[in-house]
Structure formats: structure tokens, C-alpha cells
Amino acid sequence: MMSVARFWRKIPQRYNLIGTRCTSCGRYFFPPRSFCPECRRSGKIVDYQFAGKGKVVTYTVIRSASEQFEQMTPYVLAIIELDEGPRTTGQVVCTPEEARIGMRVSPVFRRIGADGESGVIYYGTKYAPAD
């Protein structure tokens, strides 16, 4: 799925939703960016800890997946708008029937996938319905 180093260097982002923020224009970035597309060279990027709370903008139910995810189907995949503004893509841990646009969600730490039976297990953030 992903080499150990490639996964490892994004652990703070994937486990704890550490994104970035441009202190010049105030925009928040998750997934993180190291270069502000608005301010460009005059931007100043710092790390930012997202709370992870947000709402579902749109969603689908994946019934046919790539090899890594075949065992997990069906699962709900959504674009989530975090309360700070940025949008990100993630799985929602609810049934296909429960999913709806505008649904409030909060982050949960979950296993995302694994490299076979004896390989690295990849953890990350999924989202759970929140009231």
C-alpha cells in the first residue's frame, strides 16, 4: 500500500489531524500545505491542530473497492468540511442508511488498512456521527 517511511512521515497528520495555517491570510489547510496558494511567497505557514469536528458535504457508499479495501465493503466515504474551513476526504463509521449530507461528525482513531497479514498496519482518522 505505502512504504513504511512514506506512511511514517505523515503520522502526526494522519493520527492527530495536524494540518497547517497561513498566518498571513489566516487560511487553514487540511490536508496540510507547506505553501499558501493565496499568499504564495509572502505566506507564513505554521502547524495547526484541528479539532476534527465538521460536517458531511457529500458522500457515497463504496461497494467495489481496490484490493486494499475489498474486505471492508460496503463503507461510507465522504468529503468532510472541518469547522475551521478546509475540506478533506475520509470514511464515516456509520451504516449506508445513516449517511446524509450535513451530518455532523467528529474524528475517531481507526485502522485504515494493512500490508497483507504480516505487514505494516496503517492507522489514521475516520469520522463518526456526532450530535
Binding site: P31, T60, V61, T89
Partner: protein, 387 residues
């Protein structure tokens, strides 16, 4: 800048071609295009090849050289360049060839596209295609291509009055056209029932909302317009070549249901050609999924946002409607060998403008458009061709 013309075009049949290798697919398309242009290989000055992922599909890189070699051009040492932009690789290969001829750097240039997708299992091809999205922040969490377009469909259907039946009619129309195209992967007509009863892939998209996994190759030959009649009596002029970029992820788009890249490339193409939507006789759009055709018709400016479903239902986009869309059968029925699709679109328009499209001929077609999308809209190439 010089005017550029297409002087020859060739395309393999599209399908699951278990008995044909990657390199032979390409050779077949190349020979067809050269024969059509009445050219011998030594007259070619340069070659561009659109290919998304030979590295994943057949574990072969260095495609430019491989193809120059197997088309017998290695001994002439002409430059041969691979162009990659996911599913828009073919459209960009065509554009690079147009730029090469227009600039005066080269005269006779081949633009080709090739993809051999069936040498890996379907799970592996789904994963390879996911590389057209953001691997780190879309693919990693379980997004698939049908899933991303399904999220466009969910958003679209929540905001605009598009019905399940209207969406299905896109596939029905494209299968009708494909049934009249001898190179198409699927040459059977279907009904809305076929679509609505097919298995869900990613809600609300079903199997028959999705383009298939396909092997195929296509090639066209370009020349300066002033030299075109040395080779053919029916040159097709390139009236505009436009390309646009957008965010790699769907979630970062300004509007989930609008491909701003299509809007930008479409506007630029019309501006370059000095034409408007009313001048277009037919258009090949990137219908990797039924919802993608709906968005494309709107984003290119043929109708307002939210109206393409109604347009489809009214038969406007049908083979003999006032704006025929995807006369080839589109990606849905003709097939979608990703790197070849953009060139196949040009091949279809060339056939139509020359009056050689047989049972799917649009009478009196003089101006055609192609629209080729990479990923969920991060790259878009739009071309306008005319006679």
C-alpha cells in the same frame, strides 16, 4: 504560429484484447494512421505518446523509445516523448503535437495514445487508476474513482433536479451510438432498466454508469495546414487547443459539481477559435461516468448548470439531436483505454468531419469539439476541429 491540420487518423478496436500486447496495440494504431495519411515512416519528424500508467499495467516505462523502436523509427532517431496526465494523457499528447507543428519546430508529427489495462486483475487496475487522484489524501483513506465521481453525483442530485432515469439515459444514448461504431467495446443497445438494475458500484452510480476497463490505441498525424494537401484531400483543421488545471483533490474544488478546469479550457478554446457553443455540430465529452457527461455539457457552456439531465431526456444530445454528444459511444460504450481516449475522441471527430462515420454519421458536420479530463478534473484538454 502556423495553422495545423490532421492529415491521417487510425484507431484499433477497443475491448479486452487478451491476444494483443501493449506494443502491438500501438503499432496497429500507428500503421492505420500512417496509411490513412499516405505517409512512409521516414517523413515523420516527431512523435508524442499519451499513456497513463504502463508502469502499473504492464510494468513498462520508457514508452516513447519503445514505441519509436517498434514502429520502425528507432533508426531515424526522431524524438519520441511520452505525455502523462492520467485519463487526459491522450488529449495532452495531441496538444503537444499541435504546439510542435504550430511553432514551426516540426512538420509531420504523430500524436498517439495507448493503454493496455487487462494484463492486471481488476482490483489492481482500480488501484492504478486511483493514482489519478491524490494518493495520500484520497486513495489512502479508501477513495476509488467511481467513488469520487459518485460524490459529485450525490452533491449534484442534492442541488439540481437530476433524476436517476435521466442519468441512466446518458448510458442508454452512448450504448446506442456504440452499437453503430465498429471499434466500440460494447456494440449492444441497452435500456434504462439495464442501468437501474445493474449492481451498485458507489452509490448512486451503478455498473452501467461506469466506463469499462479497456485495451486500445489511437494515433493521428499532424502537419502544417499549408502542406496538408500534399498528403490528403480531406485535411481537418485544428481550430483551437486549450488546456487547464485545477486542484488534484475533489474536496479542494470551489464547487464539487462543477469542473472549473472544463469551464476554463472550454472558454479558452472558444476564444481561440472565435466560435461559440452554437457553432459546434458535435462534441466528444469525457463520460468516464454518466454524471461526468452531465457536468461536461454544462461546464462547456452548452446549457445552464442543472439542465443537462433534461437536455438528455429530450434527446438534444442524441445521435440525431441538435447537439450530438459522444457519437463514438463515448468512454461508456466505445471503451476507455485511459491514455488512448483523448486521441480516440479526435479520431471520431475527424471521421465525422470527413463524412466517414457510417451508421452514426452526422450529416453536414463541419465543426467538432473534444473534451478530455484527467482525474476528477485536475487536468482538462479541449480541442476544436473543423473543415
Amino acid at each position: 504560429m502556423r495553422d495545423v491540420a490532421v492529415i491521417g487518423a487510425g484507431c484499433t478496436t477497443f475491448g479486452e484484447k487478451w491476444n494483443v500486447s501493449f506494443r502491438n496495440l500501438f503499432v496497429e494504431a500507428g500503421i492505420l494512421a500512417l496509411e490513412d495519411a499516405g505517409l512512409a515512416g521516414e517523413q515523420i519528424d516527431a512523435m508524442y505518446v499519451g499513456n497513463m500508467s504502463a508502469g502499473r499495467f504492464v510494468e513498462q516505462e520508457h514508452i516513447g523509445a519503445l514505441i519509436a523502436d517498434y514502429t520502425g523509427l528507432a533508426s531515424y532517431h526522431i524524438p519520441s516523448t511520452r505525455v502523462e496526465a492520467a485519463c487526459a494523457s491522450g488529449g495532452l499528447s495531441f496538444r503537444q503535437a499541435v504546439i510542435a507543428v504550430a511553432s514551426g519546430m516540426e512538420d509531420i508529427v504523430v500524436a498517439a495514445g495507448v493503454e493496455k489495462m487487462t494484463d492486471v486483475a481488476s482490483g489492481a487496475s482500480v488501484d492504478a487508476l486511483t493514482g489519478a487522484a491524490d494518493r495520500e489524501w484520497e486513495g489512502f483513506v479508501g477513495a476509488t474513482f467511481p467513488g469520487l465521481y459518485a460524490m459529485i453525483a450525490t452533491d449534484y442530485m442534492n442541488r439540481y433536479p437530476l433524476t436517476r432515469e435521466q442519468l441512466a439515459l446518458v448510458a442508454v444514448k452512448n450504448h446506442y451510438n456504440g452499437a453503430r461504431n465498429p471499434i466500440a467495446q460494447f456494440q449492444q443497445e441497452i435500456t434504462t432498466e439495464t442501468v437501474i438494475r445493474s449492481a451498485l458500484v458507489a452509490d448512486p452510480l451503478r455498473l452501467f454508469d461506469c466506463s469499462p476497463i479497456t485495451d486500445g490505441a489511437a494515433a493521428v498525424v499532424l502537419a502544417p495546414l499549408e502542406r496538408a494537401r500534399e498528403f490528403t484531400d480531406t485535411p481537418v483543421k485544428v481550430l483551437a487547443s486549450a488546456q487547464a488545471s485545477d486542484t488534484i483533490t475533489l474536496h479542494d474544488r470551489r464547487d464539487i459539481s462543477t469542473l472549473d478546469g472544463s469551464v476554463a479550457a472550454g472558454r479558452r478554446a472558444f476564444e481561440l477559435a472565435g466560435l461559440s457553443t452554437a457553432d459546434i455540430d458535435l462534441v466528444e465529452v469525457h463520460d468516464c461516468f454518466t454524471i461526468a457527461e452531465i457536468c461536461a455539457i454544462e461546464d462547456l457552456g452548452f446549457c445552464k448548470k442543472g439542465e443537462a439531465g433534461k437536455l438528455t431526456e429530450e434527446g438534444v444530445t442524441a445521435l440525431h439531436g441538435s447537439l450530438p454528444v459522444n457519437t463514438s459511444g463515448g468512454l461508456k460504450a466505445c471503451g476507455h483505454p485511459v491514455g488512448a481516449t483523448g486521441i480516440k475522441q479526435v479520431y471520431e471527430i475527424v471521421q465525422q468531419l470527413r463524412g466517414e462515420a457510417g451508421r452514426r454519421q452526422i450529416d453536414g458536420a463541419r465543426i467538432g469539439m473534444t473534451h478530455n479530463v484527467g482525474g476528477t478534473g485536475a487536468t482538462v484538454a479541449v480541442h476544436i476541429l473543423g473543415v
